[in-house]
Symmetry: D2
Subunit: 356 residues, 4 copies
């Protein structure tokens, strides 16, 4: 029972693999009447695409999106929107050599055990290439959110030991690691390039801030906003942890420090601090939603590693191919997309909380 | 659109609130033929119940469970199992005084905004009392997992600055914080009692280990095992973060350190390290599943805090009632239950991965 | 994977069996703020209950409903509403004798094959007693529909060869078969009592009319309004067929007769005829929704029948117990409930068809 | 909230409209290891396609299917299978003239009311062209069912007043109405052609028989096999009624005639008659599943009809385009596909009925 769908009211189903005919998504649940053209989607895909800079993989995909259904006279019709991006630069030759080896850190072994065999070309379905569909669908979600003045900002918070200190959001798209701290961005880049030179890779932390989110989003007790966001983020390849607001720091705090005191600003009630990251009891409280996710160092490295063959024989492996030495920069638009998809779904679900 | 159901094949729906008639759960999807009696469930509820020790709330609920349906001649019939625990020691008097105040750190304001009004008695549905249903359902899930030799061990890993170093699982149920490190347990207890004395509360970290989980569980690309576990954990009240395996440490690692090398142990393929926490590409790889969740300090504290009334007027609040000064000890069985529910659901879902 | 839930936004989960502790339902998705008391629900349960008249079973259940959660100060809170009806007059003694026989027309054999064993007392979960939960939940749905001026009228259209001709809705609750045609009602009653005297039972047709349904309900291409209504009706015990509008008569018609011509009535567009039964392309068109379902003759009859034992040995069976000689009169409130549940769910789902 | 998905474990999502880029489907939940090539699917699409004979529409679509994902080395990988059929012969010119008129019997008005505007070219999403995706997905379901020796046979049972008497299944694909009764087939054809000549259309009944279905399929109390089949059938365009086994005839029967007596055939228990159509209590009982659905006369007719414009002004309409004068012959493979999809889903769901 495959789990390639996400969302309950604004539902997406992605399909496709790294070296197949392409990758795509069906968006089921977008209301009729939204102006939508390919450029709206392309803009986001371009932020995710490969070969952007010296810190990303060299695979060159134009990631040109095509809308196959659901639009009439430039507007959504309320019926499923099918989006398709053809694979163009797939180079499977590198994978023939290692098809009988399990790449450390990769899903190879787990897929083999689950499905009995696996599409070893570029990782098949486990490749981050699958996230093209998410980013494409997320672009539509973002358009819907923008109408409600909800905005999502994502950036690299940390790479290796380097943590952004200054939060100058205008810097984000001006450097190739997508860091809001210009100085720290340079250190991050150096760190990444240094690792690549050594045939290695590095990890990082992506932070997301959503502004303009009204109070009331989240459906306790299981479909809490934070629970659904946690799932959304953890479903992104390479993510090993998620935290909201103060996150793991809370373990060492006292209640009197951690609790956010309520204050009134004019007619609006808000909180003095935002340790909760904008979510209380699983429901948005009107403050900014703040969350972080950690991405592990890219599994594919050219350094020699120990592994075994599919038959269990000892072997050495050097994963050639073309890979991002740090996932973080390109994970930013993917994380934004997943947050957008989660928020629009919850915005819809919240329509039924009160009698009208 | 309320979200009080969890699971796809082994599905539970919880209901009930802190000071209503009781709390309960309907379990839909348990196969026929499982021997099940109330004692199987009571055993787990007793680990979760209030008034266990000096580090838990003083509310005294016997939490006596009653099976209302789904059993015939001592065995499950394959039809819905309804479980009910009556509320007995609910004391709403303390809440009348603060019904017009928003308790800092609590869901009061968010519920008010979402639903237009709220059951202020004991937090209503947002109370951790709701988790009785989860633990009851989790007991059934655990019985099913035990038949496949899958076991879940939960414990307090950290309270305030104190982190368990020794992992002696036999110690866990021997101390009132459920810590596997006897010495550290005492420091944790002292830390909690000290905070309570000051009218304050403290945070902590719960760790879970699942042994015996076969490779293959998890349904990419969205219903990954780690994604569903993250949601399960984040849906527990007070949880602000979740990490799997190496978790947030990955940000500072190199790929060559973080990747788990494959090795063969006899006929079995496994990994030298378990930085992945038993999950690769969202699918279990046969190693132990390891995850951690952070619980914030209990929001209810007797210390005076700033807040506002429902009308936005400044006010002071001291939350009396009876509360756990640290959530962690009682969160252990709840977290175990959520993990059990997630694993049994994925065990079922994985039946369809390969043609038979 | 049990299927005891119905609905997507207004979701119900029923539980319980004929001779267990009782029957109940959890309603998840009712908006906050709806005034609701037990009497609102009791009213509908009383229309469904046993022992109403000489054409229904003699089992005497008061079917007294208890609200266990989801209400505060007389209003729904937006959280799950748990409803429970205790079984009181269950008499299992009659079933001990026939526990090794498969009752013809009943689910005994199918349940045995599916689950490996079965609760033979009163049919267990396959008993129509389960529909108590549906009717209880349906009462809430009806209250919500009434606020939108949507009304559902159900009645017995046919019993044996007797078909209602006059449609005087005021008559429906005045006769014990719930037929809008007073004269025909008497013939139906005589037919039923005559069958009972012979130890036999008879079939019938229930018709439902929903007025005030706005155009736009239904979610193509699978969750069409007619498709979901068909499922709802067919899920009721004893139902063997469903038709909307002109139904099976359409087979013999020409398009020029069957098509409903559009006409304008003031500013409103409607149709001259209503062969479509108010649904075009799976979406309500603003006309009355009209559908019919057929109920087979009650399977339990005292006449001697051929059957086999669970071991396949030839046997005779006379099903004693207390049974309705015709299902139709009590099926009316059940069918109404299922229609109400379907309509409220679709009313909610339709909120997202257009951008607002 | 669009409803373009069907199934719970074997899940399909269709997309596309009559005159857009094409129509397609994503199949999520097919186990890994099934040999699958385009020809397997094409075979079924060819039975559904337009321009087959003089009783079908003249639109000429080759309906050439392309597998875009989910296959590696000729076998399914357990990941989503995306199928795409390009539209080639879409002729929208005929629709410009009638874009401001509501075609009687069509979904035009309902779509307009629901979505605020509509793709008027060929009916857009409400066109039966959408069923291409269903038939394509159904071909995969049929392959899976065949491995369990489950077979589905569909045919035209009735057209206008002509009802098949002889059930010679070998005749079905030998005549253009797909009727198992050779003689009656000719009368049906004459009836259809006669209607077309007059610019009119006729209705019919399709019957389906599934053989080899094991006892135990169906998930009470809502996801009964008959309930899910009823939904599946009613979701097909033009269907106005569904009945299982004896169906509407049951209204006039006595229980003693309608009940199917159990008999033993060797070690197998079965029933003397099959009035139940193979389903008791919503669960298959091992006998053939038998159901019928009625299709109304095609709404598009060239005869002049009364209607109104989108502004409510009186008008006459003659629907030119290219249409089937009787839906039944091409509805056969569509109905078979929907039955196959329902059965495979329930076959999977039934895996969890008993403990293993």
């Amino acid at each position: 029972m495959s789990g390639s769908s996400f969302g309950t009211l604004f539902k997406i189903s992605t399909w496709g693999e790294s070296h197949g005919e392409g990758v795509g998504v069906v968006v089921d649940g977008c209301p009729a009447g939204l102006p939508l053209k390919e450029a709206d989607i392309q803009k986001e895909l371009d932020r995710r695409k490969t070969g952007q800079s010296k810190v990303t993989t060299m695979r060159k995909e134009t990631d040109c999106v095509r809308i196959l259904s659901g639009i009439f006279k430039g507007k959504t019709t309320g019926t499923p929107i099918a989006l398709w991006v053809e694979n163009q630069d797939a180079d499977s030759s590198k994978y023939e050599d290692i098809k009988n080896l399990f790449r450390p850190g990769h899903a190879d072994y787990a897929y083999q055990m689950k499905y009995g065999f696996r599409d070893y070309r570029g990782g098949g379905r486990s490749s981050a290439r699958e996230t093209v569909g998410r980013v494409a669908a997320g672009a539509i979600a973002k358009k819907l959110l923008a109408r409600k003045r909800i905005k999502i900002i994502g950036y690299t918070k940390q790479v290796g030991p380097y943590v952004a200190q200054k939060m100058d959001f205008k810097q984000i798209e001006k450097n190739i690691v997508r860091c809001p701290d210009k100085k720290m961005a340079q250190k991050m880049i150096d760190h990444i390039l240094d690792a690549r030179k050594k045939g290695d890779s590095v990890g990082g932390v992506v932070e997301l801030v959503a502004t303009g989110v009204p109070a009331g989003l989240g459906e306790p007790v299981f479909d809490r906003l934070d629970a659904d966001l946690a799932k959304a983020m953890m479903s992104i390849p390479a993510v090993k942890g998620v935290e909201v607001g103060i996150g793991f720091e809370a373990a060492e705090m006292y209640g009197s420090d951690c609790n956010d005191s309520y204050i009134a600003k004019g007619k609006k009630i808000t909180t003095k601090t935002n340790n909760a990251g904008g979510i209380h009891g699983g429901i948005s409280n009107g403050s900014d939603i703040v969350l972080r996710m950690v991405v592990k160092p890219t599994s594919s490295i050219t350094k020699s590693q120990d592994t075994v063959t599919v038959n269990g024989k000892k072997a050495k492996i050097q994963v050639e191919g073309r890979h991002d030495p740090c996932v973080s920069p390109r994970a930013v638009p993917i994380a934004e997309a997943m947050m957008a998809l989660t928020l629009i779904d919850h915005l819809m679900r919240n329509q039924f909380s009160q009698l009208k």
